[in-house]
């Protein structure tokens, strides 16, 4: 990175965030150092130091933060762009998806490949977020509200060169008002998502390297959870070149340091030949695509029926339903005259209905066929005569 660019970006780093970063990365502040500067040292080094100005107002502030970045580049062996991103965004976890190979040496790649990489990155985070909320083998639609809200607040960072890298900043607390749901767990939702993602990837790679990938599909409830959706997202990133590899790494938010622990790695490397095994795991985890009967509960939304051959009203009825994973869906069904009559009663009394049927996913409105056991929940109030 050119000194001009480094200093321009360094000027935007706040002194507090720089100090927070140092503390979160194992530096200790030396007390009783005067002169408007915080001095940090490391227990494992006699010489390494960071000098971080206490105020951003000094004329050489940008140069001094650039010095800090230079020192961290040498120590952490990471590009300046990465470290600057971490300093500029202290309250986010940054997940990097890096495609390394001959095709990406110059920092570019095919447009189609790049779009697939981005989509795979997005879906891997979404899959992890859905699994935090509901650890199931397969998320049919990955439309959990919390997960989507997290994705909405994620930021795509400027491409970091030396390979093709997709870097996504994932806020720890995507929606403050919902944080109460997770306060008791003391770990914010964003971190639970990135933590699960990195643990799942680590478990996946460890299992593959131990020739034990079957253990993932055989023990789907084992932790950390691995879903078919995560495997599917990884497959989207599969490099075309056999010598290429995908490296997924995490930079943890300095406001919420992540302690090193077994079962999680800061960096996971996926070799080209491992993707075939990931595909096998995906097939075993993903349920048969054949539609299966399931239970639906919800409200009748609209009644669009018409008289049938017997003169009774029947036909198209639209519902707002709660489906698997407490997902809200809109679906329509063609009801017979008896069920249609119940639907009319439920609609008029604003009652909940439940029934079994087979869901067929559509692009906008889904369809439910083979409706059975259609019931109104609770008594229908009688109209005073």
């Amino acid at each position: 990175m050119k000194p001009d660019n480094l200093e321009r970006l360094a000027a935007a780093v706040s002194p507090q965030d720089a100090r927070q970063y140092a503390l979160a990365h194992g530096w200790q502040r030396v007390s009783a150092v005067n002169g408007g500067v915080a001095l940090f040292t490391r227990a494992d080094s006699d010489l390494d130091q960071l000098l971080i100005p206490l105020q951003a107002t000094g004329p050489d502030y940008a140069r001094r933060i650039a010095d800090v970045v230079d020192n961290l580049v040498a120590l952490e062996k990471r590009p300046a762009e990465e470290i600057l991103n971490d300093l500029l965004m202290p309250d986010v976890d940054i997940i990097r998806y890096r495609l390394v190979g001959a095709d990406t040496e110059k920092g570019d790649m095919s447009l189609v490949g790049g779009i697939r990489m981005l989509d795979g990155a997005r879906r891997s985070l979404l899959a992890a977020a859905c699994s935090v909320v509901s650890p199931v083998r397969y998320h049919p639609r990955m439309s959990r509200t919390e997960a989507l809200e997290l994705l909405d607040t994620c930021r795509l960072l400027q491409t970091e060169r030396d390979s093709f890298t997709v870097a996504i900043a994932c806020p720890l607390r995507p929606v403050e008002q919902r944080q109460a749901l997770f306060d008791e767990l003391a770990v914010p939702f964003g971190r639970r998502t990135t933590d699960l993602l990195m643990r799942s990837l680590y478990r996946l790679v460890q299992a593959i390297e131990a020739d034990d990938a079957a253990s993932i599909s055989d023990s789907p409830t084992a932790q950390p959870h691995i879903s078919a959706n995560l495997c599917d997202a990884l497959l989207e990133m599969k490099p075309s070149d056999r010598k290429s590899q995908v490296i997924i790494s995490a930079s943890w938010a300095s406001t919420h340091p992540q302690r090193a622990s077994p079962g999680i790695a800061q960096k996971v490397l996926l070799q080209h030949d491992q993707f075939q095994i990931i595909e096998d795991v995906y097939r075993k985890l993903r349920p048969s695509p054949a539609p299966a009967e399931s239970l639906f509960v919800g409200y009748v939304d609209t009644l669009n029926g018409s008289p049938g051959p017997d003169g009774r009203m029947q036909g198209e009825t639209r519902f707002v339903l709660v489906h698997e994973e407490e997902e809200i869906i809109r679906a329509r069904s063609d009801l017979g005259p008896d069920d249609y009559q119940k639907a009319v009663q439920a609609h008029g009394a604003a009652r909940i209905v439940k029934f079994n049927g087979i869901l067929h996913i559509g692009r906008r409105v889904h369809q439910i066929t083979k409706v059975q056991q259609f019931e109104i929940l609770g008594p229908i109030p009688t109209t005073p005569s």
Binding site: V37, L47, D48, Q49, L51, G58
Partner: protein
């Protein structure tokens, strides 16, 4: 020629600093020199424990480089050097966290003698001098201010190491006109 005479002098001043710093064991980085004079010309990066009383073992010193082939006037053991006001004000700041030095390379009047090469030696004639302008008084001039550089402050390897050892103890060097 690709470089103007002023550019050659600037490059020689950087080469001088780089050579002395390298021999002293310090890294010398070219700064982001702009046409408008913003930024510094060079940074010395130090990573060394000079003594038990050193607080800093990994620090930076900013250097403003100048070179002149005009023979400076000398009085009371100091060379007089006219410095652009912008540089003067930057260097006299007490708000800077890192030490700042002005280094002026005095070159022979005859440009043919600036750098002399033989199979025995590469000679950069005359030498550079340093001064800290920290806390220097505000100037009432419009464009330039004369500063006074002690003739004792020749920038040698030994002097540079001594200077960095003092900075490692967080000594603050004030300007003495």
């Amino acid at each position: 020629m690709l470089l103007s005479e002023n550019n050659i002098k600037a490059e020689l001043s950087y080469a001088y600093l780089h050579a002395v710093a390298a021999r002293a064991g310090f890294a010398c980085q070219e700064g982001n020199r702009h046409e408008d004079g913003i930024g510094v010309d060079a940074k010395l990066r130090i990573k060394e424990r000079f003594g038990e009383d050193s607080t800093l073992t990994n620090f930076t010193v900013d250097i403003q480089l100048k070179a002149t082939a005009d023979q400076p006037t000398e009085a009371n053991g100091k060379y007089a050097y006219s410095l652009r006001l912008k540089n003067y004000n930057d260097l006299r700041s007490v708000e800077c966290q890192a030490p700042q030095l002005l280094v002026v390379l005095l070159l022979p009047t005859n440009s043919a003698h600036w750098l002399v090469h033989s199979t025995e030696r590469l000679v950069c004639q005359r030498c550079a001098y340093w001064v800290s302008l920290r806390s220097a008084p505000q100037s009432t001039n419009d464009t330039a201010q004369t500063v006074y550089i002690p003739t004792d402050n020749a920038l040698s390897v030994e002097k540079l190491r001594d200077l960095m050892a003092r900075f490692s103890r967080r000594e603050v060097m004030q300007y003495e006109a």
